[in-house]
């Protein structure tokens, strides 16, 4: 498969693993957080940890948009789906995510709610056109990558004069979440969580560029290497981070230069800026309230805001007390340290955020890495 196989080549991987082996210094700690679920998935799916020396450890960050959405927002989506005359359009992997009381969109669908799985926000606009007597609500989630398509869908609906299309906006922002992790007392003051560098997002960075990470590198004195989602990208980024640590540098480097520029995608950013504004605070599953970490639809476009049209109540819901997701997302614990992991909490019956999507740390560990605990 062209443009894919080249980035999964086993011989090149062995060459990179050897280079990493030569570069690491005994006695030095290299604990790197990959922010994105896409990286977490690649690390587990290709068994990248097996190729790394013992003192290089990967900490799996909160960059899975499905995982970090709090139960209250899922309850909001369930509330919308159950309104008479509403068709709720959602991405596939949102369907299984449990809200409070372990209710999910899949269960609501089985009970008669009209919920459609779509592949693109444009499909939701299509549904609105095809069903003029129904209200189509698009359950929009994701980081900066999926926000421009949502903006575009609203524009399309506006151009077509569709009055039956709204968006339940749950778009969140990467830099705010990274800040929240770095600002947590364990990381900033106590030093109990060793975080020696970041693998920066791939797809998100194609939109926002590499520039937003320069602040972190400088302020928190941690190197950042932006990397693609292919396994060779990840290995190369780890090598680049190790070199920065060894040389005492903390710069933003761009391994994913085939897709990411310093300034990102100006057109997409303008589209988003035109339609969305920052929420003062937004709850993240596992991280709690994070200031200025999410977007809402601007008042000028409020005709397309499902929260305005349907007066969605503010659902509150608490995560399970024994769930260790928050600690796992900040690198304090590994999935295997959680009492619920693999027993009460499995991909089939997820309790915590890290188990709900294939990209969450616990789900990836459960699905692809369980043999490590046994061996």
């Amino acid at each position: 498969m062209k443009f894919v196989d080249e980035f999964r080549d086993g011989d090149l991987a062995r060459g990179l693993a050897d280079a990493i082996g030569r570069e690491v210094r005994e006695g030095t700690r290299y604990h790197f957080m990959e922010f994105c679920g896409g990286h977490t998935h690649a690390i587990f799916r290709y068994g990248i940890q097996d190729l790394l020396p013992k003192n290089v450890r990967m900490i799996h960050g909160p960059g899975c948009p499905v995982c970090v959405l709090p139960m209250g927002r899922i309850d909001g989506a369930l509330h919308l789906a159950k309104q008479p005359g509403v068709i709720l359009a959602s991405y596939g992997d949102m369907l299984r995510v449990p809200g409070s009381g372990r209710d999910s969109l899949l269960k609501a669908k089985a009970q008669g709610a009209d919920i459609r799985m779509i592949y693109s926000p444009a499909d939701a606009v299509g549904l609105a056109e095809a069903n003029p007597t129904k209200q189509i609500v698009f359950f929009a989630i994701g980081f900066e990558t999926t926000t421009p398509p949502t903006a575009l869908a609203i524009r399309q609906a506006h151009k077509k004069g569709l009055c039956n299309f709204t968006v339940y906006c749950n778009h969140v922002l990467t830099p705010a979440a990274i800040s929240s992790i770095l600002e947590s007392p364990e990381v900033r003051d106590l030093g109990t969580v060793p975080l020696d560098g970041f693998i920066g997002p791939a797809h998100v960075s194609t939109i926002i560029g590499s520039q937003p990470y320069e602040f972190f590198a400088e302020e928190y004195r941690r190197p950042v290497v932006i990397a693609g989602f292919e396994p060779l990208d990840v290995l190369q980024a780890i090598l680049m981070l190790i070199r920065q640590v060894n040389e005492g540098r903390f710069e933003v480097e761009n391994e994913f230069s085939r897709a990411v520029t310093r300034d990102g995608n100006a057109k997409a950013k303008a589209l988003v800026a035109d339609m969305f504004e920052l929420r003062r605070s937004f709850e993240w599953r596992g991280l709690g309230q994070v200031p200025y970490s999410a977007l809402r639809i601007k008042e000028a476009w409020s005709a397309y805001d499902a929260e305005v049209r349907f007066q969605v109540p503010d659902f509150k819901s608490e995560d399970h007390k024994a769930c260790a997701c928050g600690a796992i997302l900040r690198g304090l614990k590994t999935p295997a340290d959680c009492a619920l992991f693999g027993t009460a909490c499995t991909p089939e019956h997820p309790i915590g955020s890290c188990m709900v999507s294939a990209e969450g740390a616990c789900a990836a560990y459960y699905t692809y890495g369980r043999q490590r605990r046994a061996s």
Binding site: M1, Y46, R96
Partner: protein, 340 residues
Amino acid sequence: MKLDLENGVVEMAHGGGGRAMARLVEDIFVRSFDNPLLSQRNDQACFDLSAGRVAMTTDSYVIQPLFFPGGDIGSLAVHGTVNDLAMAGARPLYLSAGFILEEGLPLSDLVRIVASMARAAAEAGVAIVTGDTKVVEKGKGDGVFINTTGIGLVPSGVAPSGEKARPGDAILISGTLGDHGVAVMSCRENLSFEVDLLSDSQSLGGLVGAMVEAVPDIHVLRDPTRGGLAATLNEIARQSGVGMELQETAIPIRGPVRAACEFLGLDPLNVANEGKLIAICAEGDANHLLSIMRAHPAGRDAAIIGQVVEDADCFVTLKTSFGGTRMVDWLMGEQLPRIC
């Protein structure tokens, strides 16, 4: 009254037990399935079986769309049940066919489906000897549902079973994975993409016949249908109380399947197959069995993909082409595409 096979549709009367139903059975089913037992028009088929072990299985088919590249619900209803018999090492002999038709189904579609079943049965060397037809009101079915039950004879000395995998055994697959699942997905209503691929739906009776003749002591035979290779190997590992180690580079997967799974965020090891089998045999028999499989048209792309190992946790693991190791787990719930 004659049936209008070109423009007519299934009506409630076709399931009513009266003349309309008799006409439907006569003109479509009996004519297509044409065999002496069915032609007796009794409520059951009576036949002699030679002494020995008999295998019996049943399966219901509810696939959407009814017609897909490389097959349809009719051929699938024959292949699926024939293959379930074959996985016992049995030679499939007879099938029953129960139809639940939805009012409004074009008769031309029904004719196409039944003709396809007849063709598949002839190719597999089985006779459809008894059947049943019901009609449900419009909106209460999905065009057509088919149930088939099959009976076959197991040659003496042949007894593959899921609990017989032993550490050291070789794991073989009869061909490329994921063709059926991806071919069907490519024509689902909300996900049409163009892919140069046909479903692998086919009878495995002939292939199994050749395999058990050459190596009667095949320990396990199973077809990786829903849930794909991953689910099937996990089932066997648990039944046998063993682990399995696979080599990713040895698993045959076609380019279009890999590409489709790549952009949908699916794992080909979880995708359904309808014409492939997994065989587990003693290591010493593996190369002989592989050459027999490759000599048969249904096993041309067969490969040895891994081995059975001792493992109290019954884990199925995969040595990745990248050089690492990962688990191959069951699919959780329904297969859903990832957002990014």
